[in-house]
Amino acid sequence: MTNAIEMKNVSFSYDENLIIKKANVTISQGDFVGIIGPNGGGKTTFLKLIMGLITPNEGIIKIFNHSPKSERKNIGYVPQRINVDKEFPITVLELVLLGAISKIRPFGNIESQIKKRAFDLLEQMGILNLRKVSFNELSGGQLQRAFIARALLSDPDILILDEPTSSIDPKAEKMIFDLLLSFRGNKTILMVSHDLNTIITQVKSIISVQQTVQYRLPEEVCEHFAMGLYHVPLIKANKDHKKEKNT
């Protein structure tokens, strides 16, 4: 099977702080991967490296055997809700259409094919009736579904979701998971979540990001969580790195 994502000895530092240390990851096409790790542990940096938004200081990243920058249009991204300006004046349909903005004319009528796909996705997400509503009027679950529709508009092969089910009701969470599971085998999915129970039961493989990037077995995740290792402060990890560097 083709590798969707390949990372070889990838390190990334910001100023003096090492965020990702020598990551080696191989994710096959169609895999559903859960990403766990403490806050500030480097999960979002890990995702940004894959999306080509930042460049590693060391190592090589390949997306379908190409550089992340040349393949990033093939990645749909659902950001963390806390990073979104909820007051921004945009309707749900306008938000979804941003998912294919490079294919849309900057002015005038929107291409009918793209508009039709946006309508279909909104219907699939159960929010077609809200298309003309300002996005700041949506509930958490509706907002997340609108972002998933945006990520899917250009029909990407890789879907990356950063905590898509945080602070939403169980019904909306189930709907999102059912949808993601329906893509199993067709799309490569990377999902960051703090909900370890969901991660353990739903995804194929688990990666923990806490400066080092490691594959984990479900039982290992439970063990680490129980032992409190999941919450080892990053400051300590950075100190260890600096000490290692000096010696």
Binding site: K48, M51, G52, L53, R72, K73, I75, Y77, P79, V84, D85, E87, F88, P89, I90, T91, E94, L95, L98, G99, A100, I101, S102, I104, R105, P106, F107, S134, F135, N136, E137, R150, S154
Partner: protein, 288 residues
């Protein structure tokens, strides 16, 4: 008041001032909406204040070296574009240090202006009109310049509207979609600089942020659509400018400060109205 109404039909200075206010309102309504939704008011304030450097330099060229072509408004235009590029570059490369860079450009630009002004020999009275604005001194040549800048702002915004919305909402998503984010961001900042230059004549460097941000902020309280915010902001700015100029003329007080006070008072009244549910969302701007 009757005297002011009579002056409306007979005083060419007042007529030019009102026309200048109208042109400035178009630019402030359109670009001010982007400033408010992208939350870059302090960045725009930095551009506005750093413009003093260009004004001071061109004054110095004109009065100390006899360069008659060196109109200070062209200096403002040049300094605005340079500041926008520096700030844009800092934003894209060193996002975490953006605040400090904004403050540095703010004070450095003003410092350059102050030094050049201090070197000018003789009377410097009209320099204060750039600090506090004096639309009643607007000439037809300036009016033409403002008209051209307005046209540039409107045409560029029309052709790049969707892309501007995309980068204002989510720069990372726009980058992933391979939009030319750097070019678009610089263009947006360049247009904001142009609108600030337009507003300088009306309200002055120190008060420009009031006219740029208050009308869109009021409009955003009533609508969740950017295009409606823009149209409403233009209308509000026209009302604020016209009232400000007429009050200033009849009471013989500075027009820039009068416009800024009217903007601020209107915002307070709207906030109080909203607080006590006198003004409901979607009713005030439902005409669009």
């Amino acid at each position: 008041m009757m005297e002011t109404l009579h002056a409306l039909s007979s005083n060419p200075f007042l007529q030019i001032a009102l026309l200048g206010g109208l042109l400035a309102s178009i630019a402030s309504g359109v670009m001010g909406s982007f400033v408010v939704i992208k939350r870059i008011a302090s960045l725009s304030g930095s551009i506005a204040h750093s413009i003093l450097g260009g004004i001071g330099f061109f004054y110095w060229l004109k009065y100390n070296h006899g360069q008659t072509w060196a109109d200070p408004i062209y200096g403002a235009f040049l300094a605005g574009i340079i500041s926008a590029f520096i700030i844009g570059w800092v934003h894209l490369r060193y996002k975490q240090k953006e605040d400090a860079a904004i403050a540095a450009i703010w004070s450095t630009g003003m410092a350059i202006g102050v030094i050049f002004i201090s070197l000018i020999k003789g009377y410097k009275a009209d320099f204060t009109s750039f600090l506090f604005g004096n639309i009643l001194l607007l000439s037809t040549k300036h009016l033409l310049f403002l008209g051209v800048l307005d046209l540039v702002i409107l045409l560029t915004t029309f052709f790049l509207y969707r892309y501007f919305v995309a980068i204002c909402f989510d720069e990372e998503q726009s980058t992933m979609q391979d939009l030319p984010v750097t070019f678009l961001y610089f263009t947006l900042l360049g247009l904001i600089s142009l609108s600030i230059v337009l507003l300088l004549q009306v309200i002055g460097i120190i008060l420009v942020i009031a006219l740029l941000t208050i009308p869109p902020t009021i409009a955003a309280l009533f609508t969740g659509r950017l295009i409606k915010i823009m149209i409403s902001s233009i209308l509000l700015a026209i009302i604020f400018n016209t009232l400000g100029i007429l009050f200033a003329y009849s009471l013989d007080i500075p027009p820039g400060a009068t416009v800024a006070i009217i903007c601020a008072l209107s915002y307070v009244i709207v906030l109080i109205g909203k607080r006590f549910n006198c003004l409901k969302k979607r009713t005030f701007f439902s005409i669009f």
